[in-house]
């Protein structure tokens, strides 16, 4: 007999399938000795409930959808990893659904996944978690939704995020603490909502320390290492060049670092460089780049926690659950005292 069903267990234990079902789902109203017996038989037969039958008859699918834009990015990979771990712990499964907002008919694709798989919830990664049209689809389907690191929190979703502003502020304070006063800042792209918050944190720290920000030292990049190199050239060519450069993400920081090397500017002796995200690129060069660890995996795992929480599920759409996870400065070799 290849596949063990609930009937097999029931027969062997001498009870009804329904009782086995009760034991499996941890419901009340089963005598302790019966419960134990059933559990023993379950273990013996290595019985595993058929997820399909289960979700067909009950209202839950034990399936969460992870909706992402660009599944290839390292960011998405970390988020997914966290979600996967969260699901595993709670015996849920994760279905990854790429969403290409540029493709016509993406809305139907999404609707299709939701209704065909009867998803129990959706985790939405940036940047598409800021897409109103997508949120509308979830809301319309009444699907509990949790956004990871969104820029705004729609009323119909839970959110899990980190404090970009505060983290940038702390990083800046760390640089100031090292004695730096002329600090260059490489902004991220405008459409990325985190960019603004990071810059805000930078400025706030400078202001609090009463250090003037030289606007010539603030330049805008697009999160690519390419612009990091270009803007690095620009900043380092300044007559009174900065002693530290804070880039809004790690790729750009890497670009700055490479440029410094190219010009024989010793890091961190002559120049401190730091980034944001703790992306793989922050470890690609030597010295490795000081950065802010964004708890990507933890955020995703927390999103799973929220989604499987019955209290949250009850309020369709699941407003009201908002979590802010702690970040962490990762101090590495690319920063030092002036």
């Amino acid at each position: 007999m290849s596949i063990v069903t609930i009937k097999d267990v029931a027969a062997r234990a001498g009870v009804s399938p329904k009782t086995v079902s009760r034991v499996i789902n941890g419901e009340a109203h089963v005598r302790p000795e019966v419960r134990e017996l059933v559990q023993k038989v379950v273990a013996e037969l290595d019985y595993r409930p058929n997820a399909f039958a289960r979700s067909l008859s009950s209202t839950r699918s034990y399936l969460l959808g992870l909706f992402i834009d660009d599944p290839v990015s390292g960011y998405a990979a970390d988020v997914q990893h966290g979600a996967l771990i969260g699901c595993r712990e709670r015996s849920y499964h994760l279905v990854v659904e790429p969403v290409d907002l540029a493709a016509p008919g993406w809305e139907n694709q999404v609707r299709g996944s939701i209704s065909a798989l009867r998803l129990d919830g959706a985790i939405v990664a940036p940047p598409i978690c800021d897409e109103a049209a997508l949120m509308a689809v979830f809301a319309e389907a009444g699907l509990p939704t949790v956004l990871v690191a969104p820029s705004v929190a729609p009323p119909t979703s839970g959110t899990v995020r980190m404090d970009d502003r505060l983290a940038a502020q702390e990083m800046t304070e760390y640089l100031l603490g090292l004695g730096h006063r002329r600090i260059g800042f490489v902004q991220g792209p405008i459409r990325h909502s985190a960019s603004a918050r990071r810059e805000e944190g930078f400025r706030r720290a400078m202001e609090k320390a009463a250090v003037a920000v030289d606007e010539a030292c603030v330049v805008r990049g697009d999160f690519s290492s390419r612009t990091g190199m270009e803007l690095g050239e620009k900043l380092l060519a300044l007559p009174d060049r900065p002693t530290a450069i804070f880039a809004s993400n790690d790729d750009m920081a890497l670009g700055v670092l490479i440029t410094a090397m190219k010009h024989g500017i010793a890091v961190p002796e002559k120049l401190s460089v730091c980034g944001f995200d703790d992306a793989p690129s922050s470890r690609a060069a030597w010295p490795q780049v000081t950065t802010v660890r964004q708890p990507k995996a933890e955020m995703a795992a927390a999103a799973v926690d929220i989604l499987v929480n019955p209290q949250f599920r009850r309020k369709a759409g699941g407003e009201g659950s908002h979590l802010m996870l702690p970040h962490e400065l990762v101090l590495r070799g690319s920063t030092g005292p002036i």
Copy 2:
């Protein structure tokens, strides 16, 4: 009415549910006009078959499992992306299952996914596709399995891969064609099966061109950019230093490139550098690194194709389907004539 079922469609079209089922699944024996009518109604009602009901009654689940070791790596992300696209085209869904071979009980985890979700097939990414114990679990479950870029092809699985040896040979020939004779080679870690094949290709090209390989110019790294930098130092300090360095992967090539910059060795004027994989890191620096594009996404998509192919599925385990996908040299700025 929120959820449209097959009965609703049947009622509206004035036929039986079974006929609707036939139309949906593209079965024969339906009069053309009936078929058309049903399709019209399906579209009107925006009907989507419930995947659970479908797989409960039929023997198929329309679900494929992607088994990966480290879901965070860029490699895995590309593979997953390809698999996702392949699934989408064929209205399958993908369930990502991380496998931690270090964790006790991983075998039961895997068995659990297979039997609870009634997976239709497994795609296994490197490096765990070379794990005999894992393969044994799939074989035992009779699950059709396709390995992506394995080092060996077990008799019970299909495989999709690229020709590492040939690609490395072509890259070397390209360098030779540019006039390079002293070519450094950075080997990959021994446990990575592709490493040996890449080195083999390098040596074969050198041999064919009757250029002696200076063993002092052949050094072993571990695929990290860190060792790339260290070994770069070593190679560039050689009395008669190489005019070109071929690293077995892009991270190491990036390390070499950074080291060259640090020493003021112009790339590609004084030194050509190339890597392997077309990883993001190959684009992280400037000039961007010449490399070999490994068709990761295409391999995964091909794996899906094989898995959903009925012919393959019939032979349990699915021996006999082996695909070799074409690679591509990506010529960028880091290589040039001597």
